[in-house]
Symmetry: C2
Subunit: 192 residues, 2 copies
């Protein structure tokens, strides 16, 4: 099975969540689709269909992002390109911290959202979602995770998502919830 | 009367809208309040009260911003510090263009919103608002206006807000509407 992504961090997470090692990233020569939908599920389907059509294989994909209450749900689907270009975790995080510099501790609620999808020729598309609510702090803490994890403290925790072990994080994370729900749906459809 | 602002562009606009020249920017030595409200009216009141308390004068102020539909209303009150710090028009505009790079022409609706306030010792606060709907284009056009004007085309126009004459812009703009409504309310209260 292929995970339609170039993100090695994500591959590690998804393998652990699904409890299987026979998942690989997209072949490097496929190019990338334009993710121009404005929903997580829409962009996950764009990514998965792009790879499925070019490989004929079963493909899983997710699109996820950080939705900040005081920003009306942004960065949302723009999380990975918040600084204006793709794949710059540090710049995205610095920018968000700067934008929220004057926002008080009582208004820093946010949530991570994930839509996970399964696409395979001749099979119905399957979509599942997960949400992890929490709040944003003012400086990075922790070395784990990726993206905005170091500035996000999940509800019920004192540590950031980057300070949790990968097992702890996956047990509560948006991506963990979404892929576990996806796996359950796949099982229900008899898909291995 | 004082306009609680450091923005000379805004002073020119407000003088023209209100049709009076006896308005000046805040004294340069007053410092700046933290605009930590998450509404336009709240931040306009913070700015006006800060200056009124320190000068004893009647003060008008506005807070305005660009609300982009696909960003859930952001940048909104963060418009002037979208790049993470205050007062960088070019960086704010470049960032927004980058964030929306993959967003299609059918999803680029936005609106400028303005809350204008009047604050004076012993007088009731007066608040008025104005909205200018339109859409965002992909590159700057025009030399007039300021802020995001060069990438914003008001509904019913082909030119950007930066291509309109100041008279045309003020006749339809969020700030024009808000300050004209504020003036009408002030007149109703017998304030000159």
């Amino acid at each position: 099975m292929i995970l339609a992504s170039r993100n090695a961090h994500k591959l590690v997470e998804v393998r652990q969540i699904l409890g299987r090692e026979d998942i690989d990233l997209s072949p490097g020569n496929l190019g990338d689709p334009v993710e121009d939908d404005v929903t997580f599920a829409g962009n996950a389907l764009i990514k998965a269909r792009y790879v499925a059509e070019r490989t004929g294989e079963a493909v899983i994909a997710d699109d996820s992002g950080l939705c900040v209450d005081v920003l009306g749900g942004s960065p949302g689907v723009f999380s990975a390109r918040w600084c204006g270009r793709h794949g710059a975790d540090d710049e995205n995080t610095d920018l968000l911290l700067g934008q929220l510099n004057d926002v008080g501790d009582d208004l820093r609620q946010a949530k991570f959202v994930c839509a996970a999808v399964y696409v395979s020729p001749g099979q119905p598309d399957i979509i599942a979602t997960g949400i992890m609510p929490g709040r944003l702090i003012r400086e990075r803490r922790g070395e784990g995770g990726f993206g905005y994890d170091p500035i996000f403290v999940p509800d019920g925790y004192e540590q950031t998502a980057a300070e949790l072990t990968s097992r702890e994080k996956n047990s509560i994370s948006h991506r963990g919830q979404a892929f576990r729900a996806l796996k359950a749906e796949m099982t229900r459809f008899g898909i291995e």
